[in-house]
Symmetry: D2
Subunit: 229 residues, 4 copies
């Protein structure tokens, strides 16, 4: 069994409250086919291209998170994640796509599909209309879900799996440490704003609703990724 | 042929640039079934409930538009539309649903579907991340498209059509005047910011892209409305 | 003694926590000179012109408040206030200035002073970076303070006071009802988000800080209004 | 004469249009007293503490800038500046204040003065209500003005000037390169959105107004820094 307790107490509580959809997301057919290497290469490339567009908007949302706090500690932690997205994860997509013959110019021109757009605009708008916590919670399912997927797939994947470098990206120490760091940020942010007794706070259900919606939007993203348009 | 020239020169230019998708939106099977009265009542009720949630977020976006201008004239025109949404169009949905045995409490608890969410969050985020024009353009396809649909369906609909009051809502003088008023707002806003030669302005393609995406999200909304989940 | 308990329990609690500055604001020399009619007419005109610019941005902030809630009831109440600002209070300024020989065109071109700008940008940014409550609290000192000033000045003002129509604007039934309506909105919004025990909620001090800062910005506005630049 | 042409063509054009106020800002008495070492140490410490609070909000505004673009290149450049603010410039303030016996805890609790608040809230709100360019222009006078001041003061300052490390911070290669990088970002952003003929673009005056207001807010900040409250 995957131990993700280290991602923090708030994440674990929210995951429990959204467990059915959380499983549909992290155990999706797309994930399984990555894990056993059976995913059609064309679908993988399509996914990478859509995910590139996703990462641009997801990075914007992490930047917005910094704008929504006055705490220098929260600013530092969020800007660490922002950097890792802009300067590492996006670069990896560019490199991988280049190896497949897709230039960065082509990547930038990728036509964003509506299931993709739905997710990032929901996250960004949660941030703009709500406050720091709403946005941080909306960002969580992507960060932690990919961490869980990395932990789950690595032990069951063969080294000649064509998608091993994708799996390694989310299994590796750097990404797992990022998840722990974001987990700490989330735990601390919740304690500072809702108090120790956070699960009884009047706005806890609203935050769980945001977590659930973002999880459904992840499933929606995988569904799109199994279709060639 | 429907004369929608009166909705203004900017709308007409943008519609021409998105004509294929504009037709898919305004001539969608859902629209046709409303027009000939053949739409399954269950689908209609489902649509009304989703549209109630849509109107809440769409009204929020019109309110945001007011926050994004310093012009008292633009504020007045936008707040007229906001009022007509909050105090008239939403009320109509509440009344119609009540007649179907759905209370306002139930309406408020409607589970928002992802195709619905995608649309309003795109509109709101266009406003928050962009400027006044981006938001006003994102709001346009809904306003003008329903106006066109009202004009198109009324002459071909029988009086005993079970959806005649829906058709009348968008055919009636008040709604058509609203379209003209929004059309004037759009034309004036474009002239003030892009100049007379607006179609050669460097940001014109970006605005047309927003119009096109919102049009695609309308089609996506009708698709959802033909499915019972 | 002025009874403002009717403005609601949250306002009264916040006012108590900011009492020194609240008095400096509502009993400012500018207010006293309005009340006894001794204010230099030039200063009054200057104040009206700055206040016109203030009301534009203040209305934008009320519009933003609507964008920051999903509650149809909160939307309705906030849009009532927005209307009363855009269609009544601003119109009154235009009319009064016109009588003084200042056209609306001149009003629109008023050079916004920095003390004026400081206030509305603080309010708007509280809303954009924070959530619904932060914004509503930031909007409160202006609404309620003018209500209190109207109640205080009316009984001690002579009918031949040159500023009697200004005093009547904030003493009149319509404005006092607006204050009560905003007080109810604030009380309800706090109960819904912080619970009954709101004064022990972890974010209560943050909200009181916002109230205090907006109160200081009111004092700052009066200071500016006693200077001719 | 100081050569700041290297900060880019847009900055130079905007500076020319705001020249009187630009000089009042960059040649302010506060700046002169830093340059000849005559500034009261108490005023310097007060300035550092207010500037710490300023930098928190200024960093938030740079983060917001990233949220307001879809261009990966603009995101990269802006996140470089954000990092240099959060991880270098703010750290320098903490270190300098520590040497003066002021802990980071005290710094965080600094009571923000209204002239300070006015500036950052204006910048942030320009970004939230406007678009990428409005925000970038609002951020410019601070970045470039400090660069100019560093270039001006260094050659005329003695090595035993008590403020030499402050002067070096803005004279040093790293800071000057940051100015050049931001100048490139601004030039490119203007060309992409307004075209080559940007000085004739209909929104050019609006952008210059933002530049001018931010410059006035810098003067306002220096005025505050010469007063002990």
């Amino acid at each position: 069994m995957i131990k993700t307790d280290k991602y923090g107490i708030v994440f674990n509580a929210m995951k429990s409250n959204a467990l059915d959809d959380w499983k549909k997301y992290t155990q999706h057919q797309f994930v399984e086919r990555i894990g056993n290497g059976s995913l059609d290469r064309k679908l993988y490339i399509k996914y990478l291209m859509q995910d590139y567009v996703f990462l641009i908007h997801f990075s914007r949302a992490w930047a917005l998170l910094i704008a929504k706090t006055n705490s220098i500690n929260e600013m530092r932690l969020a800007s660490k994640t922002l950097n890792s997205l802009v300067n590492e994860e996006i670069q990896l997509h560019i490199k991988t796509c280049k190896a497949e013959g897709i230039s960065e110019e082509q990547l930038i021109k990728t036509e964003e599909e509506l299931n993709n757009l739905a997710y990032t605009r929901f996250v960004l708008e949660s941030g703009y209309s709500g406050e720091f916590l709403d946005l941080l919670v909306a960002l969580s399912p992507c960060v932690f879900g990919y961490g869980e997927i990395g932990l789950k797939l690595k032990p069951i994947s063969k080294n000649n799996n064509q998608y091993i470098s994708w799996i390694d990206t989310y299994f590796c120490k750097e990404y797992q440490e990022l998840c722990i760091s974001v987990g700490n940020l989330l735990d601390k942010a919740i304690l500072d704003r809702l108090g120790n007794n956070f699960e009884n706070n009047i706005i806890w259900p609203k935050l769980n609703k945001i977590f659930l919606t973002a999880t459904k939007l992840e499933i929606n993203f995988w569904e799109m990724s199994l279709r060639l348009e």
